[in-house]
Amino acid sequence: MDVHLSWNLVNDLRQLLEFHFMVNALRAGTIVAIVAGAIGYVMVIRRQSFAGHTLALVGFPGAAGAVWLGLDASIGFFGFCIAAAVLLGLAPAGGSGQQSAAIGIVQSFGLACGLLFVSLYHGFLSGLNNLLFGTIVGVTDRQVLVLLIAGVVALVALAALGRPLLFTSIDEAAARSRGVPTRLVGIAFLVLLGVAAAGASQVTGSLLVFSLLVAPAATAVRLTARPVVGLVLSVAIALVVTWLGESAAYFSSYPIGFWVTTFAFGLFLLANGYRAVVK
């Protein structure tokens, strides 16, 4: 593959879209960024970053298990993430320490299962790094279709859940007294988070989903206090980060995981700097 980055942007774009795998990667990245930006924003407001991180990591044993059984990796990603989301939703209430410990135990046991599946399926070591850290090659047409369907369903569900979810996130006690089924809303949102994490896992890998789920949202929260503007901004940042990251990975010899996390972190630092200057 002979690609060069030049000052001719049209030429760069033509090179970028020359290969089918890259077109698929960009399609998948776009879908994933929109979903992760929107759901991640609500996650940051609800302070459920740790749960989001755990759901993202649980995709790894799912995918490893699916590969071991000869199934499509997408099935494993979505199946495990959604199952873990329900499990987390039913986790025992208690002190905050107990609750996050429970999340942590789900996470590390999930990862341990991933290790088990990987070692049961011999000769899978090269795939291991791709599952954990993502790759721009190898996104199939079917995967793009699955991502598209899951993304649309998740966004529609988020919109339907919107008002009670926002109410519950801002003032849980008041929402409960007004008859909002807060526990159910919480579990439903975790499932959406699971879908977003499973989708993003297929682009950035399980370990780096966070760069799309939390960093754009955290950047948006620092720039505006208005929920709708923040949500749109978060989606926009996620898109920019994904497109830049995928292009940089294409033109350089370094992996996508590095580029996406670096752009996301850079924007987060810039937003922090902007806030410090404006205040």
Binding site: F50, Q98, S119
Partner: protein, 278 residues
């Protein structure tokens, strides 16, 4: 089983690391810093891979990365408890650097690196050498001593920070100091169960102990005991069934104990409110 040298080394390293993780984990859960512990375990990966990329000793990278990030996390958060969004954004970037190091390692350094990443992530306790096991044990003992010195003020500061501050406990200093110990523990445990799984050894025994014992010192001892018991049982299972990776077996036992405790303590009739932490 005990006559095999690799098993002796595994038991030595495993026991000392488990003891340390159980003790440190109790405070991590008590102080609701599970997420910070998780972040540090991921930082350990980057540290190890960076050391491999540069070509220095793995442990140097591990300990430097985890302790530096731990102190940073402690300094960023006001009361030594950093914002989870800051933690999340930062560690995902640190992990991104880890990926960069991984690609440098796999492209530029040929010798035996196809498995290096997996070893760091998931540990290889059965492959630990006699010297490494002894070093791990010595460092663990040192860290336990440090934790012992911190323990009393730390417990006070964790349960009631404002009263502790009023009584002259240096609460602001304790936060970063404790996180540094957590970081060093993460670096230690990476060598036994791996960067991705050490976190289970921190959280599971501690959460189980908190549900079973109500008095802090009892829970602390129980947490350490459970961690060691999980490690011994896990190592034995992995020895008996070679297709199971030892890290998986240890984690499976620790998780099993937690789930069993959860079922017993939340059974109707024996309802017992879990200790709500400060």
């Amino acid at each position: 089983m005990l006559s095999q040298p690799f098993m002796q080394h595994a038991l030595l390293a495993g026991t000392s690391v488990a003891l340390l993780a159980g003790l440190v984990g109790y405070f991590v859960v008590l102080r609701s810093q599970v997420f910070a512990g998780d972040a540090l375990s991921h930082v350990a990966y980057t540290g190890a891979l960076a050391a491999l990329a540069v070509g220095v000793d793995l442990r140097l990278g591990l300990f430097t990365a985890t302790i530096v990030v731990a102190v940073l996390l402690g300094a960023l958060g006001g009361r030594g408890v950093a914002d989870d969004v800051v933690i999340g954004t930062t560690f995902s970037w640190v992990l991104g650097i880890g990926v960069l190091c991984l690609s440098i390692v796999t492209t530029h350094r040929a010798e035996g690196n196809s498995t290096a990443s997996a070893t760091v992530l998931f540990g290889s306790v059965f492959g630990i050498s006699a010297r490494d096991a002894r070093t791990a044990a010595l460092i663990a003992v040192g860290l336990i001593v440090v934790l012992g010195l911190l323990a009393r003020p730390l417990l006070f500061a964790s349960l009631d920070p404002s009263v502790a501050a009023a009584r002259g406990v240096p609460v602001r200093l304790l936060g970063p100091a404790f996180l540094a110990v957590v970081g060093a523990t993460a670096a230690e445990a990476t060598q036994v169960v791996g960067a991705l799984l050490l976190f289970g050894l921190l959280a599971a025994p501690a959460a189980t102990a908190q549900r079973l014992a109500t008095r802090p010192w009892h829970a602390l001892a129980l947490s350490a005991g459970l961690a060691v018991a999980s490690t011994w049982t896990g190592l034995t299972i992995a020895y008996a069934a070679p297709s199971l990776p030892p890290s998986f077996a240890i984690l499976a036992v620790a998780t099993g104990l937690y789930v069993a405790t959860l079922v017993v303590t939340s059974a109707p009739g024996r309802a017992r409110t879990p200790r709500v932490c400060a």
